[in-house]
């Protein structure tokens, strides 16, 4: 090492100054008060900023999103077990035979109902092995198949002013088995992501009732709680719609 480098990195003697002995005491008192006041102010500020923290983070997540950035995909040997994380009771499968999804807020002004046969025959089916990440911290790698949300949006274009889609499931139940409709907001930019599927199959088999038969949202750029099971309605809206978990204190955008 040259002397120049050594001098640059080398520790230097601390600067010394001579002060009146009273100055030291006064400065100590002043700075103690200042730092104390600063800490109280910081805590008070944190209290008032608490509700904004999620909004800042949602804005950061939204700015990170790019339709061209793909989520990592995995091989079949990397598949892990996916648990049934229905928040309440798992619905009785009796809803499945009469199931259809209703589309509202379309450019045509019509309300469209599609059953699972319609969806699977009219749209091409895509497969992907992606990670589902839960807000709780666990994650699972699973093999999904289904139609691209983007293809459905092209076939049934939303009204021009629509920016959000309200995704809901009317078959959702609470812990004691009573109806507890589930609804989330998804921004249309995310719905158009090429890896956002309306999934019909898990691990090569049609979805079971535990995983949202017959159609669930599979949006890997969002937290698991946005991946609505047993979708019964898609409504395109201009303003961000209500969101089940946002109403329970969680964030709105949930982009990961």
């Amino acid at each position: 090492m040259s002397n120049k480098v050594r001098r640059f990195f080398g520790e230097r003697p601390l600067p010394q100054i001579e002060v009146d002995s009273q100055v030291l005491g006064r400065r100590t008192r002043r700075d103690l008060l200042l730092f104390g006041a600063g800490t109280v102010a910081a805590l008070a500020g944190a209290r008032s900023l608490l509700p904004q923290a999620l909004r800042i983070d949602d804005d950061v997540a939204e700015s990170l999103y790019s339709p061209r950035r793909m989520v990592p995909t995995y091989t079949k040997s990397q598949i892990t077990q996916l648990k049934n994380n229905y928040n309440g009771a798992t619905p009785d499968p009796s809803y499945i035979p009469g199931w259809h999804v209703t589309l509202d807020g379309l450019a045509s002004g019509l309300s469209v109902a599609l059953d699972i046969r319609n969806l699977m025959t009219r749209f091409s089916i895509h497969e992907q092995i992606t990670r589902l990440v839960c807000v709780e911290g666990w994650s699972a790698v699973a093999w999904w198949a289904g139609l691209r949300f983007d293809d459905l949006l092209r076939a049934y274009p939303p009204a021009s002013q629509a920016r959000w889609v309200r995704v809901e499931s009317s078959v959702n139940l609470d812990a004691s088995g009573n109806p507890d409709p589930y609804y989330v907001s998804i921004d249309l930019a995310t719905a158009r992501h090429p890896q956002t599927l309306l999934a019909t199959h898990l691990n090569g088999q049609p979805l079971t009732v535990e995983h949202g038969a017959p159609l669930r949202l599979m949006v890997p750029v969002k937290l698991g709680l946005k991946n609505v099971k047993a979708i019964t309605g898609l409504t395109y809206v201009a303003q961000e719609s209500r969101d089940y978990w946002a109403e329970r204190g969680y964030s709105h955008y949930d982009g990961i």
Partner: protein, 278 residues
């Protein structure tokens, strides 16, 4: 306290010869360093308390459900053990929640914990930038760099700290190892490690917070699940640093604590004395 038992005898006297009216002080810490140092107290407290509440929602250390208690979380087991063995806690209402009730915002607080964790995380990143700016502006970063002799010197310091209470008990002299640098080797190792741990906490935090947008970041740490383990243990680096840090500051005396408030130290080093001690 006699000089020989003062933890920092290399930093000498606060009284100057009578002909000098004032006191000589050294400038130890830049204003931004002091500011960010104290802000770290509420920020780290918020991060750790909310972080353990987030941990509760999906513990990384799990086992098959216990046939008797039904718990699967190691932290719940620790709570049960504490309530069974610590006097006065036998009638604690919910032993599996003991750890979370005492070291976090509490169980079932995920939504609030996430809000607080992100608020503190953004504050922590800003505060880290302020700290680095202070280190550069005051030149303090040079004092943190490791030296070739540090391993040996750190062992000497370690021996000193371990032996200090014993020497006190038997009223033996226990001289502080001499050093003519701002920090001793053990302090240097700690103060060099903590900013790195802070940087890694932020990096692993982003990797598990945005695992799709930053999936390559998680890959560096071994994937999403492994990154959660990194993030958890980095929390322990801070926790294990803070305990001796606070104890030693109080053991060292008011001048050291005041130094982080005013930036000034009245212990002025006189090189010739240090030389004599060697």
């Amino acid at each position: 306290m006699s000089r020989a038992t003062t933890p920092c005898p290399e930093a000498i006297s606060t009284s100057m010869p009578s002909k000098q009216p004032g006191v000589i002080v050294t400038r130890r810490h830049h204003l931004l360093v002091r500011w960010s140092h104290w802000l770290n107290v509420p920020i780290l407290l918020g991060l750790i308390l909310s972080g353990i509440s987030i941990y509760w929602a999906s513990p990384i250390y799990q086992h098959k459900p216990d046939p008797i208690t039904g718990t699967f979380d190691l932290a719940a087991d620790i709570g049960i053990w504490i309530c069974a063995h610590v006097p006065g806690l036998h009638r604690y209402s919910s032993p599996p929640d003991w750890v979370y009730n005492h070291m976090s915002l509490g169980p079932g607080m995920l939504a609030v914990a996430l809000r607080l964790h992100w608020l503190c995380a953004y504050a922590f990143m800003l505060n880290g930038a302020v700290y680095v700016a202070g280190l550069i502006a005051g030149g303090g970063w040079r004092g943190l760099l490791p030296r070739r002799t540090d391993l040996f010197d750190a062992l000497r310091m370690f021996r000193y700290y371990i032996g200090f209470p014993l020497a006190k008990l038997v009223r033996r002299q226990w001289p502080h190892p001499s050093s003519n640098t701002k920090y001793n080797a053990l302090q240097r190792a700690a103060y060099f490690t903590i900013p790195i741990a802070g940087f890694l906490s932020v990096t692993t935090g982003w990797a598990i917070h945005k695992p799709m947008q930053f999936h390559s970041l998680a890959a560096i740490f071994g994937g999403f699940d492994a990154t959660r383990v990194w993030h958890f243990w980095l929390m322990w680096v801070f926790t294990l640093f803070v305990v001796p840090h606070v104890i030693l500051v109080f053991a060292d005396g008011w001048d050291t604590l005041r130094g982080m408030i005013t930036g000034w130290s009245a212990r002025v080093r006189r090189p010739e004395v240090t030389a004599n001690e060697q």
